[in-house]
Amino acid sequence: MRVLNLEKLLVPVGFLQISPELCKGCGFCIEFCPRNVLEFSEDVNSRGYHYPIIRKGMEMSCSACGMCQRICPDYAIYLEKVEKIPAKKVIR
């Protein structure tokens, strides 16, 4: 039985770019994120909507699936970059 070397194994981690001003607070991205990485912000943007922010401690948890950017109707969130990071460092 071979054990996975968590320091050598690289997993993709997504880094999101959110445009709070474009967001209309529909919540689709938060609902459809398979890893529950997102939540609504406390404050509102200039149009009065709560926008998505990354949950505390989940900054490395995005699996770069792209569901949020696919489903946002207002083009307010997208996957800016994907980095391959050793599994050990990634908190899942």
Partner: protein, 296 residues
């Protein structure tokens, strides 16, 4: 909103959209971004999907033409950088017929809501389907007349509460795939915006298909949802995620929509058949008549 705010928003939207589209300016009117659709509206997703499908279709963008009627969905082709005709309520299919017959090289796509295409436009829809014109029809079904504030239409499920059925709707709704099939459409599909990849694939098949192609997109709409068991923006899309069942072989007679939480909602690419289109048949007629010589 000041014009500088709007300019900033446009910049953000353009940057975001550039993730999707190589040569974004080619297919989306970025000078009109951000769009006017409500929070929780599926049309923003459909706009993205349709733009992607146009780019991937292999058909030059100059040959694509969007035709739409009145309503929220009717605004959608105006955001695409193609030739677009925003005509009167219900008449988009008839206008598309004229466009296609005058220039069969055009790839004509009608984009309309359930109110525009199958309620007021019902007659044009069934006859164009019957003749199997080679045009594409995307029907965005939100079960309601959204733009005018939430009145009922031909697809509103029985029992719904709308602004013109405040005591509960007493009519039976259309089953759009069955209506299209019975009228003679030769490509029928139904998806939702959250089934993004399949929706884009259905659009691509629609462009490729020679014949009357109908793609029904069941879309969330706040105006329907807030009065009918889907109070917050995500309730309706959660319902789609939980109750939609992909069944390409579904019996069209059984897939009417009730939005009942206990009933599954069938989606899929239901029907595809190849039959000579009106344009092909008429072209054969012209060839035959031209050969016959002048008759009096």
């Amino acid at each position: 909103m000041s014009s500088s705010d709007r300019f900033r928003l446009r910049e953000f939207a353009v940057t975001s959209l550039t993730k999707y589209y190589e040569g974004l300016e080619q297919v989306i009117r970025t000078d009109r971004m951000p769009h006017i659709f409500c929070p929780g509206c599926g049309l923003g997703i459909i706009l993205k999907g349709l733009a992607e499908a146009i780019l991937k279709s292999g058909i030059p963008i100059n040959r694509h033409v969007g035709v739409s009627g009145i309503g929220c969905t009717g605004r959608l082709p105006g955001y695409l950088r193609t030739d677009a005709y925003h005509v009167t309520h219900g008449r988009a299919v008839a206008f598309a017929v004229g466009l296609k017959l005058a220039n069969p090289e055009l790839e004509v796509t009608v984009v309309g809501g359930d109110g525009d295409i199958v309620t007021i436009g019902g007659n044009h829809f069934i006859h164009a389907a019957r003749r199997n014109h080679d045009i594409n029809v995307i029907i965005v079904n939100n079960f309601i007349y959204g733009m005018t504030g939430g009145q009922y239409g031909a697809t509103t499920p029985t029992g719904s509460y709308t602004t013109t059925s405040p005591h509960g709707h007493v009519e039976y709704p259309f089953n759009i795939p069955l209506l299209a099939y019975a009228s003679g459409a030769t490509f029928i599909a139904r998806w939702t915006p959250i089934h993004y990849a399949q929706m884009v694939d259905a659009f691509l098949q629609m462009f490729e298909h020679k014949g009357f192609a109908v793609v029904e997109i069941i879309a969330p709409c706040v105006l329907y949802g807030e009065r009918n068991r889907f109070p917050s923006y995500t309730d309706m899309v959660k319902y789609f995620r939980d109750r939609c069942v992909i069944d390409h072989e579904a019996d069209l007679r059984k897939i009417g929509i009730s939005l009942d939480p206990k009933e599954p909602l069938a989606i899929g690419n239901f029907y595809k058949v190849r039959r000579k289109t009106y344009e092909e048949l008429y072209k054969e007629l012209i060839e035959r008549v031209s050969k016959e010589g002048a008759k009096e």
